[in-house]
Amino acid sequence: MATEAYEKLEEEQLTNKVPLKIKMRPFIILGPAFLLTVGILIPFAMAIYFSVTNYSFKYPDYVFVGLENWISMFTSADFWQSVGVTLTYAGVATLIETLLGIGIAILLNRENFLSRSLRIVLIFPLVIAPVIATIIWQLMTNNSVGIYSDWLRQLGITNFNWGADPSTALFTVLIIDAWVFTPFVTILVLAGLRSLPKAPFESAMIDGGSAWFTFKNLTLPMIMPMLIIAILFRLMLSLQMFDIIFALTRGGPGDTLMTLPLTAYTEAFTYKELGVSLPFMLILWVFVYFLSHFIVKYWTYTQNKASGK
């Protein structure tokens, strides 16, 4: 009797049609992801396509020009200058913000009134749009009315021209970048610090481990996954940095701060040469993609290490 019932059920399952609702479920679940992917890929593919045309906002028509724009980019001194500036900017900004972020997070990882208050204040630069922050800094570093210029004058430094001088322009944008984005690294590292188990630290203390020993062998490896996430975001965004530099100097003086995004923007919107501009953006994408790819791989490794695998 039981066997018959089982055989009947099996037959029903084999012969009956699966309800449409259930059949469609995988497509419904995957639908948004699919649309998102298409939404990303269409502009991306179009960017690649227009990079091999002479598309310009100055002319009503355009033609296929093969790799002309790409060859012209790779053989131009401006491109290599832009690559140098972009990598220097991203590397130094990420390094400064990471070191400062760790330092500030360790200082704030205490339970007292000052730390609690500073944790709230710390987030303020992050809620200001970078372009507004730049305008604030522009005023503060202005040689006529700027408070920082005034302080420098009082210290006897009279010829410090901030963003207006090629020798200090990079330094100036890095300061603004660090001011805006260090809190981002701090918050992530602080979150990592506050989630650490207490037992290993208590053992290290009982064993007489120094603060440096504890930091190097316990704290740093354990917060490394968080830190790498912070580095990944900062590196990606610093490579793509546009607004601070544009608002401060538009890439000048001369070509001092002409990063890849600035060069691409200038070619596209000031010179109206979209075809010439797109290779700069696409090559930037390649940099961002490969760097983030390797960092994500390293993140997986550190996460495994931190969890003892």
Partner: protein, 472 residues
């Protein structure tokens, strides 16, 4: 890695397919065979300000006193025509980038936009600008009071071009109607001159550099000698620098065998660039490379700059009692001489133009003629700051003569410069491209780069950039 490579190959294959399929589409779909110069317009029996009552138009304006005057009187225009006007206002440093993007969308927004004469060389070739002769010449579309002949011919012609790179303005279609114009000349603060015992402003570049350097700190900390624009932008080149460039006998391009040839490394070009850099270094603000129109203008008004080498209308803006701390102290004189020849000045004309893809062209034209008409121009020149006026009737009116009569040197300077003042650039569609790179080179030279070496490098770069100009 295999996945990445196969991904790249897929994208490349897609790209090539897209490219092959689109080449023919380009030829067939976007053909610009000149037929775009014709426009099908409805026939009207008579002119009527109320004909488009109930329509709504979009206007894009650059942040400027001329725009402020328009905005102030939009309600009167709306009342007169029944047309609703929506406007946007953008600072000059980003205005044209935003405008280009909007025009490229070709969706008819904005219907009317503020522009300069140099922009015609890009926007006309891109087919973004509506040719206006057909509107101006139609007596059923243009008010009998409009009187197009009242515009100074040279200024109206700044918006007329035949679209051929290298050809001068004044021939071909009319693309813009002027709001006001600016000469580029020297403004001086009388108090500054008095502070060093000078009775007359300097006449030559050498004198200006010497006096400007002497005036460092003349009005307290942060004050300096000579203000000029300095950002990495085309706007740095066209005022004082281009005026001196031309007065020194240098030219930007010539046309040889139908192609543009750059002369930015000529002896005259290098000499005047070196001299201008010396002016900035000896007498300019230390953060010169961050200076825009707004900063230079403001420094003159606030008594920070003893001189400015820029737009002529500041003498009028900043001499209005109560409007600026230095009102009443600002005088005008000719650009500094570097040679004994007659002086001229590079001219800038702010105008308004119609978007070719606008679907409300007749309503847009009503807006354009109202705000370039005699009544608004007269009001703007007397009650607001729409100066220098582009209409002869306004310039010669008693009220305007009274307004400029008290400004030291204004009338004399105007009379001396009027014959030699025009657009000194060679019209060509790569204007913003070449002048922005030129500004970057000027910044380098001011910051110590060797002028000859940098101008040679610039000339090579510019020659390559103008090779992008496509033959019509």
């Amino acid at each position: 890695m295999k996945k990445i490579i196969s991904g790249f190959i897929s994208v490349l294959a897609f790209m090539l397919l897209f490219a092959c399929s689109n080449e023919s589409a380009t030829e067939n779909g976007n053909d610009n065979d000149g037929s775009s110069n014709t426009i099908d317009l409805e026939q009207f029996d008579e002119f009527d300000w109320k004909r488009f009552d109930g329509e709504e138009i979009e206007i894009m304006l650059n942040q400027h006193p001329y725009a402020e005057a328009i905005i102030e009187r939009i309600p009167e225009f709306e009342e007169k025509t029944g047309i609703t006007v929506n406007h946007s206002l953008t600072p000059e440093e980003n205005y044209f980038d935003k405008l280009t993007t909007s025009l490229n969308a070709q969706n008819g927004n904005p219907d009317v936009f503020m522009t300069g004469a140099y922009q015609v060389w890009e926007y006309a070739t891109a087919d973004y600008m509506q040719e206006l002769d057909v509107f101006v010449e139609d007596e059923n579309r243009t008010s009998p009071d409009y009187d197009v002949d009242d515009f100074y011919e040279g200024i109206l012609d700044a918006g007329r071009w035949d679209g051929v790179p290298g050809h001068t303005v004044g021939e071909g279609n009319l693309y813009t109607v002027p709001l006001a114009y600016e000469f580029n000349l020297l403004h001086y603060n009388k108090r500054a001159l008095e502070s060093i015992g000078l009775e007359e402003p300097p006449e030559t570049m050498e004198e200006l550099i010497e006096v400007g350097a002497q005036l460092d700190g003349w009005n307290g900390e942060g004050s300096y000698g000579v203000g000029t624009r300095g950002t990495r932008s085309w706007a740095t080149i066209h005022p004082g620098y281009m005026t001196s460039f031309d007065n020194h006998g240098a030219v930007d391009f010539t046309v040889e065998d139908g192609s543009l040839v750059s002369h930015l490394n000529s002896t005259e070009a290098i000499e005047i660039t070196e001299k201008f850099a010396e002016l900035v270094n000896e007498a300019g603000p230390s953060d010169w490379s961050s200076y825009t129109w707004y900063q230079v203008s403001n420094d003159l008004a606030q008594g920070k700059a003893a001189f400015t080498y820029d737009a002529s209308n500041w003498a009028i803006f900043h001499n209005v009692p109560g409007e600026a701390p230095e009102a009443g102290n600002i005088g005008v004189t000719t650009p500094p001489r570097t040679k004994d020849d007659d002086l001229g000045t590079n001219m800038w004309v702010w105008s308004i133009a119609m978007n070719k893809s606008s679907e409300k062209k007749d309503a847009a034209w009503l807006f354009m003629q109202y705000f370039t008409g005699k009544e608004h121009m007269q009001w703007g020149a007397i009650e607001a700051n729409v100066v220098d006026p582009v209409r002869e009737s306004v310039f010669e009116s008693d009220e305007y003569q009274e307004r400029i009569g008290d400004i030291e040197g204004y009338v004399e300077t105007f009379n001396e410069l009027i014959d030699g003042s025009t657009i000194k650039f060679t019209p060509q569609p790569e204007f913003f491209n070449t002048t922005t790179e030129w500004a970057a080179a000027l910044q380098d030279i001011v910051n110590g780069a060797d002028a000859e070496e940098r101008m040679n490098e610039l000339n090579k770069d510019i020659q390559e950039r103008v090779s992008r100009v496509r033959a019509e």
